[in-house]
Symmetry: C2
């Protein structure tokens, strides 16, 4: 797979469209850079898959993105960040950032009561990655796996009766919290629904924004931006379905290239 030369590119990946929220937040901060995004839509969702499988997918994708000479890699997927980050840090020749540590740091800054909620996929919540980090900072975490919410977003139903019903159900058992971490990059698309369900007194931490802050702090920003960077999207599933779902979050600005999963190393080694 060859692309025309990239300019100080950063690689970003997610299991689907959710990571586009991180990509957009990054582009606002680093508009002059090129980005290569990979949405593994043929294998979405990662949330219920076994950790070793998610690690295999993530390392295959990291190898693929690093093949373009990216200068950094952003794991814009909470499930992959929760289970695969150590493997990726060890493997990749460039800095790697996940979305969990920035989210935990942001929650630590904004909470007053110390009672912090986190919602995510079964994989993310089951890994305990958020809960351990929050406890290590002396906070009291409440967590809830929300297996249907990724599907709500991927189906383009972020503003729908289905979304309202499911969000209220998942949040119905929460204790008194003053901060809620959206522990899945799909969830910022559900922000209005979630904010209505918890009320205005609860601060939502959007891992997309805080991760973009962390990552962009590591790259120089030129005083003036002469030319906007270019974004290339690879998708392992249907490009049309990707563009369709991505439209919910403002659409895709850049090329979309279909990529058979077999071209990702993890898949090849299994065959």
């Amino acid at each position: 797979m060859t692309l025309s030369p990239l300019h100080h590119a950063i690689g970003v990946f997610d299991s689907g469209v959710g990571g586009l929220t991180v990509l957009q937040a990054l582009r606002r901060r680093l508009p002059h850079r090129d980005f290569v995004y990979l949405g593994d839509t043929a294998r979405v969702p990662y949330g219920r898959k076994p950790p070793e499988m998610v690690i295999e997918f993530a390392t295959g994708i990291a190898d693929f993105l690093c093949g373009f000479g990216v200068e950094g890699l952003v794991v814009a997927c909470n499930t992959a960040s929760a289970v695969a980050l150590p493997a990726l840090v060890e493997r990749a020749p460039v800095p790697v950032w996940g979305v969990i540590d920035p989210g935990v740091e942001a929650a630590t800054r904004v909470t007053h009561s110390g009672s912090v909620g986190v919602i995510g996929t079964k994989g993310t919540i089951g890994s305990g990655a958020y809960q351990r980090r929050l406890e290590a900072r002396g906070l009291r975490p409440w967590s809830q796996a929300c297996p249907m919410l990724v599907h709500v977003v991927e189906e383009g139903l972020a503003e729908s009766p289905e979304a309202e019903l499911l969000v209220r159900q998942y949040l119905s058992g929460r204790p008194e919290i003053d901060t809620l971490i959206l522990g899945c990059t799909h969830y910022p698309l559900l922000r209005p629904v979630i904010q209505r369900a918890v009320g205005e007194s609860v601060t939502l931490v959007d891992s997309a924004e805080v991760t973009a802050e962390t990552v962009s702090a590591n790259f120089e920003r030129p005083p003036r931006v002469i030319e906007l960077g270019r974004v290339t999207h690879f998708v392992t599933g249907d490009p049309l379905a990707f563009a369709h779902t991505a439209a919910v979050i403002g659409g895709v600005d850049g090329e979309i290239i279909p990529l058979p999963v077999a071209e990702l190393a993890g898949e090849t080694t299994r065959r």
Copy 2:
């Protein structure tokens, strides 16, 4: 891909685990036969994919299954039946059955009022395949796409608060009906929830059972069954996840073989 010799085998396929309901119903009627099942779990769900893509997937799968010398092919997926059946009938060297005509015939037999509901994926309902057939029989169809219900089943949440909430929401706009076609092979797993939502006065038509009746009528049944047939399952996604989800409907009896999607012709031609 080679298997040890098959005995009067029948091929069955679905986008995921839903078609296992059809497979089980077939095995009860044709216990001596071998079956080859393909669950295209790497590309599930079909319901929101464009028709031409579903046709491509279905023809690739039909070619693969026919390669084992099956004596018949059952499209145990409503979306594929709705959009790809004519293409499959033309292409396959053996008889091909879908799930829609048997469901419509059964509904025609059981309705008294002529007011028949059908629920399915966006693809199935959007195709109008059920509605046209019901109207051609002088019945008054009411239809509702239920995009989240496949995900509920695939997540193993068929008996959950999520399932109750979603089913009641989707059925809330129905007129007075006396018959409801479960127009997706995943939905029989939601049968208890759906029956509670519509009440006992509404007859549910399970396309799995009526399709199995139609298919089995075309094959001879021996007077005594000496030896049970063998089932081989191919899955394009994760075999463990398939087995896990299949456990909801009584589990998988037979081998599960992972099959990279690239080995299905449709995918190969695209590369």
